[in-house]
Symmetry: C2
Subunit: 202 residues, 2 copies
Amino acid sequence: MKGRKLHVISDGKLSLEAFAEIAGEVEPFADKFHLREKHRTSRELYTGIQLLLKKGIPVNKIVINDRADVAWAFKTGVQLAYHSLSVHVVKMHFPDILIGCSVHSPEEAEEAALHGADYLLFGHIYPTESKKGVPPRGIAALDAVKKSCDIPVVAIGGINHGNVPEVVMSGADGIAVMSGILQAKDPLEAAKLFSMKLNEEG
Amino acid sequence: MKGRKLHVISDGKLSLEAFAEIAGEVEPFADKFHLREKHRTSRELYTGIQLLLKKGIPVNKIVINDRADVAWAFKTGVQLAYHSLSVHVVKMHFPDILIGCSVHSPEEAEEAALHGADYLLFGHIYPTESKKGVPPRGIAALDAVKKSCDIPVVAIGGINHGNVPEVVMSGADGIAVMSGILQAKDPLEAAKLFSMKLNEEG
């Protein structure tokens, strides 16, 4: 076991209850659960965290997209993007919460790491429904990002059981999955298999 | 002078630069400047605050709608609504920042005051373009809200120079204005007149 991480990201389509239900089920095999629900209010996100906690998700496995205030209220992690408060600002005013940063180039990766991000999300690696029409960045770009910084890089976008070995070979410290688990017939089996493949020796 | 307050609220239409420009101009006559820009990202709001500060607006005159995280980064005030984190949660996790709460009934007013809101925004009092088709709550409702709590109540919605005396008579501790200043031919003169009328003895 190399301890590569499996992140499960909400898709903004499931109800918060349905996401919490799946999260509760796959929890032993996943390391982070992201509420990435851009259309939701802060009050709804607050409720979403409560639902996850009720399903037994430890608070340190929860990550809130963009809203550092909601994250801070529970001391969950926060996932920042280019439109969010900067890593630097969040680090300064919300000390000790886990900060993930979504990056799209080695330069962004380097900067985020320099300012104190705890890990990076990089993608999308493969074509994916959620980024239809946008060319994927591919495995070589993942490798370049990985070399640009010394913090964990989690790969996202179109990752399925079949391409996990390739992603791992390119140096990913983890993967982030939406539909591969949330839309699987058997989310628990899907999560188990992702987890196993992530930590197979090459 | 009874020290009734004049709040100027951004309308989500002006550029942040244009709003900051007007704010800088009317600053001596206004007590609060709200960035109420629901379509903007936290990074844009952060820039908006920087623009206001550059125009000489004191940080304690700035109020950010909904985003407690952005407010917290500068220690500005925050204006909460029903979709925001609750007053109780913000009070606990963001101590010492000014908390305004938008309410629509005496019950909501009582609850917000109980949980530690510093002041209330209540409206809309008169018909207004920004709440087209929604019946105004009127002066009697303002009076009821005022009697339900012991924190300052700032009236909002369709307030113009002509109806300020009536609003003041109903017990308002201040007024909040958007178009009455932002769309005035001479925002400085408009703000001066609002300020004067607010604090005239009846």
